[in-house]
C-alpha cells in the first residue's frame, strides 16, 4: 500500500525504503523491511522515516533530535553511504539507488548494534576519553575567569574547521581500518586530538601524542581518505591526520617509531616503482597539484606508514610516473630547505 506524505506541489514520487531491522529481544538475525510511500520534492530521508514510524510501523527505531543537521544523532547508511538522514533529500537519493526506486537504509558500521538503525556510541566516547580529547588548560585554577588568553586569528583557523565536528560517526562507519580493528583510534577522535594538540591553551600535548603513536593509533591509518570523503561537515580530516604524524615525527625523531620505518620503505616505493595506493587515492580525490603540494612534503618526512594493498594499474603509466618523479624530487628539496629553515629558528 502506498501512503501519502503531502498532497500538494507539482511532483510526487513513489519510493520504497528498504530498512534494516533487528531487535535483539526477538530476532536471531537482522532482516530488511520494505516501506513504500509517496514522497514530494524536498522531503528528507528522516522525514520519511518519521512518517513511516507515525503512520505505518511505530516499531521502526532510529535516533533523531534536532532534525536540522546540527546534533549528529541521525547518522545512518543511506544507499550504502554513511550520512545524516535529516539532511539527505529523498529525491536525490532516488538517483543513487542500486535497484531503481528502492532506497536502502542501514545502521552505521563499526559500532555495536542496539536495535534497527540505532548503534552504540559508547565506544567512541571511550576513545575520546582514552585520547584525552579535551583541553587541560595552562591557566591555573585560581586564575580561571579572570583574564582571557590572547589567541591569534591564525591559531583560531588552525582548529576552526575541526571544531565543526558533530560526532555523528559517519566517518567512523566509513573507516576501512575500523572495520577490521575495532580498537583503532577512529578518524573523529584523531580529528579531535589534532584540534586539542594545536591549541596553545592546552598543556598535555605530549601525553596525548604519546598515546596516539601507540598501537591502534595514528600509524594504523591507511590514508584511504574515506573518512574525509564521507564527513557530513566537509572537514578535511586527513589534514589533521597528516599533522599528527608530522608532529609525532618531529617530536620523537624519524628513526624512533615503527611507523617511520615503514614510511621509509614506502618512500622508496614511490620513487622507484610508483606503486602507491595511498598516493594515488588522494590524487584521484583531490587532483595532482593538491596532492603534490599537501601530501608529498609530508611523505618526504617519512610519515606515511605502508600498508600492503596491491598497486593500482594507474601508476604503471610511464609518462605519468616521470612527471611524478620530477615533481617529487623538487618537492623533496623544498621540504628539506623548509625544514632546515624552521629548525634554525
Amino acid at each position: 500500500m502506498t501512503e501519502t506524505i503531502d498532497q500538494h506541489q507539482e511532483g510526487k514520487r513513489d519510493v520504497t525504503f528498504r530498512v534494516f531491522r533487528f531487535n535483539p529481544q526477538v530476532d536471531s538475525k537482522p532482516y530488511f523491511d520494505d516501506y513504500t510511500i509517496s514522497a514530494e520534492r524536498g522531503i528528507t530521508v528522516l522525514r520519511s522515516l518519521n512518517y513511516i514510524k507515525e503512520h505505518v510501523d511505530a516499531t521502526l527505531s532510529f535516533r533523531a533530535f534536532c532534525q536540522a543537521g546540527i546534533c549528529g544523532s541521525c547518522g545512518m547508511r543511506v544507499n550504502g553511504i554513511s550520512k545524516l538522514a535529516c539532511t539527505s533529500q529523498v529525491w536525490e537519493e532516488l538517483d543513487k539507488c542500486r535497484e531503481p526506486g528502492i532506497i536502502k537504509v542501514e545502521p552505521l558500521r563499526s559500532l555495536p548494534m542496539i536495535k534497527d538503525l540505532i548503534v552504540d556510541m559508547d565506544p567512541l566516547v571511550d576513545k575520546m576519553k582514552h585520547y584525552s580529547n579535551w583541553i587541560d588548560s595552562t591557566m591555573p585554577l585560581a586564575e580561571m575567569g579572570k583574564k582571557e588568553f590572547l589567541v591569534s586569528e591564525e591559531e583560531f583557523h588552525r582548529y576552526d574547521k575541526a571544531t565543526d565536528c558533530i560526532l555523528c560517526a559517519s566517518c567512523v562507519s566509513e573507516c576501512s581500518i575500523l572495520r577490521a580493528n575495532k580498537e583503532y583510534v577512529s578518524p573523529a577522535v584523531l580529528l579531535k586530538s589534532y584540534r586539542m594538540n594545536v591549541d596553545s591553551r592546552d598543556s598535555i600535548h605530549d601525553v596525548r601524542l604519546a598515546e596516539l603513536v601507540k598501537d591502534h593509533g595514528v600509524w594504523d591509518c591507511t590514508h584511504c581518505y574515506r573518512c574525509q570523503e564521507s564527513c557530513v561537515k566537509s572537514i578535511p580530516i586527513m589534514e589533521a591526520i597528516h599533522a599528527i604524524r608530522e608532529d609525532a615525527l618531529e617530536c620523537r625523531g624519524p628513526k624512533d617509531t615503527s611507523g617511520a620505518k615503514h614510511a621509509e620503505a614506502f618512500m622508496e616505493d614511490i620513487e622507484k616503482k610508483g606503486k602507491l595506493v595511498e598516493a594515488t587515492l588522494p590524487i584521484r580525490t583531490n587532483g595532482m597539484v593538491w596532492t603534490l603540494r599537501n601530501l608529498l612534503p609530508m611523505a618526504v618526512k617519512m610519515i606515511v606508514k605502508r600498508r600492503t594493498p596491491p598497486p593500482p594499474p594507474l601508476v604503471k603509466s610511464a609518462k605519468g610516473i616521470k612527471i611524478f618523479r620530477v615533481m617529487f624530487r623538487e618537492m623533496t628539496e623544498h621540504v628539506k630547505q623548509d625544514h632546515q629553515k624552521t629548525h634554525k629558528k
Binding site: D6, Q7, H8, P24, Q25, G42, I43, T44, R47, K53, E54, H55, D57, A58, T59, S61, F62, R63, F65, C66, Q67, A68, G69, I70, C71, G72, S73, T87, Q89, W91, I114, K115, I118, D120, M121, D122, M128, K129, N133, W134, I135, S137, M139, E143, M144, G145, K146, K147, E148, L150, V151, S152, E153, T163, D164, I166, L167, D199, R201, D202
Partner: protein
Amino acid sequence: MKPFDIVIVGGGGAGLYAAMEAMKTNPALNIAVLSKVYPNRSHTSAAQGGANAALGNKAKDDTIEMHIFDTIKGSDYLADQDAVEVLCSEAPKIIRELENIGTPWSRLDDNTIAQRPFGGAGRPRCCYCADKTGHTILQTLYEQCLRKGVLFFNEYFALNLSVNGSRSRGLIAMNMKTGKVEAFPAKTVIFATGGYAKMYWNRSSNAAGNSGDGQAIAFRAGIPMKDMEFVQFHPTGLRKSGLLVTEGARGEGGYLINKDGERFMARYAKEKMELGPRDLVSRSIETEILEGRGFNSPAGKYIHLDLRHLGADLIKSRLPQIREMSLNFEGVDPIEEPIPVRPTAHYSMGGIDTDNFGRTVMDGVYAAGECACVSVHGANRLGGNSLLDILVFGRIVGHTAAEEAGKFSPATISEAELKESVDELRNRMQPSGHYERYGALREELGQTLALNVGIFRESSLLHKGIQDIAELKERFKKVRVFDSSDVFNTNLMQVLELQNMLELAETVAVGALAREESRGSHTRIDFPVRDDEKWHKHTLATLVDGKVLPGEKPVTMGRYELQERTY
C-alpha cells in the same frame, strides 16, 4: 543503586556546567548526570548567534550596567532585577572561564574574544564562535566533564520524582537501552532539561525532544511553574518543519512577500521594513496570514521570504547555510524560488519557579537553564541572553546543590515505589482499548496551540485552546504504544514526551487566558496594552488534585523604574 548526593537531569549547557561546578565545589560528592540523548546532542548545540557579556572587547565603553538595563527593558520589565544583576555581573567571568578551558571563540584583531551586535543590545556584546557558538560551548563543557570523570547515564529517560512530603528522595528513570526502570535515590536533584517550545510541534524551531520533561515532572510533583504563557516566536521558520531561517536572510536584504506580491512590511514598519524587531515582524507576518494574504498549502499557510534579487553570488557567498537549509528542508533553492516561511515558536521564557540560587519550593529540588524561570528574561528574552543564562545559573545551581546536599539525610526509594512506575508504564503499553495515534495527537496539539495560543491571543481563542487541550488529554488516555519491546523503545519515549507536552500546554493556555494585558511576547488582541497596575507580576501554575491552580508572585524591582518599552 548507590544513593547519590546530586542527580542532574539534563546534559545541555546548564546541566554540564552544574556538574562541573558541583565537582569543583566538593570533589567528594557522588554526582550523576542523566540525559535522554548523549550530552553533546543537546539542544544547546543549535544556538548559532552567541552569548552576551559586557567584556568591552569590541565596544570599549560597554558596561555591565548597560547589559542589565538592556535585559530589563527587553523583558518588558517582568524580569527580577536582582536576578538580572547576577546574570550580567557574572557574564564576563563565565565567558572568560569558558575561554580558559578551551571554547574556540572567534577573535578580534587584537586577539581578544570577538563580539558582535545583537537585537535589543545597546552595544556589540554578543560573544561568538562563527555561527556555531552553542555547539562549541557544549563541546567544551562535555570535554571537560569527560576530563573530570563525571558519571554519565546517557540515554536515560527521566520519568518521575520520588517525593516524601515536602522533600524529594530522588529520581526514577528508564534506561533506554534495556527498558529497565531504575531508581536514583539522591539528596538533591537538579533539573536542566531545556525548553518546552516543541509543544508547538511543526511550528517550532526546537529539537524533537524539547518537550519540557523536567518541567512536567516537577509540575506533577507539585512544584509551581512560573510565567508559562511567555513563548517567544521567531518570524521566519520554514513552513514544513518550523526550523529556523536566521535573521541573516533579512539582514542581507531579503524581502517578505505576501500572495499578492506585496512587500507587506511597508504597512507595519515603514522605515525598518523587514529589519524591524522580532516580535513586530512575527506579528506582521501572522496578520497577513490571518487576513488571507498568505499562501496556502497542506503543510499550512505561509508567506515568502524572497532572496532572488540578491543574486546567486551573494546568496552563495554570504548565505550558504540558509540556502542549504532551504534546499534540505523545503526542496527550494532560494536562488530560483522564494522560501516559504512563517513564524515559529522558538524559546520558552516560563519554567520551573526558582529563586536566584536555583532552589524550588521543594527541599532538595533545583532547576537551571531554559527549564527554569528565575526570572531573567521576563516577558521576552533577548538574543544571546539564553546561553548566558544556562551558563551562569548552571554554575550557581551546581554550587548551591553541592553546598546544600550535606543538609539532607541520605535518601532511599522503595521497591514498591519503583514498581508503581513500572506498572504505570506497563499499563500505558497495554494494547487493549488503546487505539489513538500519538503522531496525530502531537500534530493536533501543535496546531491548536499555534492557532489559539500563538502570536495573537484572545479570550475566545484561548478558551477554545484550553478545551482542545482537555480533549487531547482525554484522547491521550487511549493512546497506543505499538512497540512492545524493551530495547530502545522510541515509540514509548515519544508517547511519554507527548504526555509531558500536553500537561504543560494547559499551563501555557491557562496563564495566557489569565494575563489580561499585552506584554513582551504575550499579545492579547482584547487587551492590547501593558497593564502594570494589574499585571506587573509573575503568574504561577501549580497542580493541585489534578487541576491547574493559578497563583502569582511579585516582580523584584531594583534601580530601574517601569517605563514604556520603545525601540
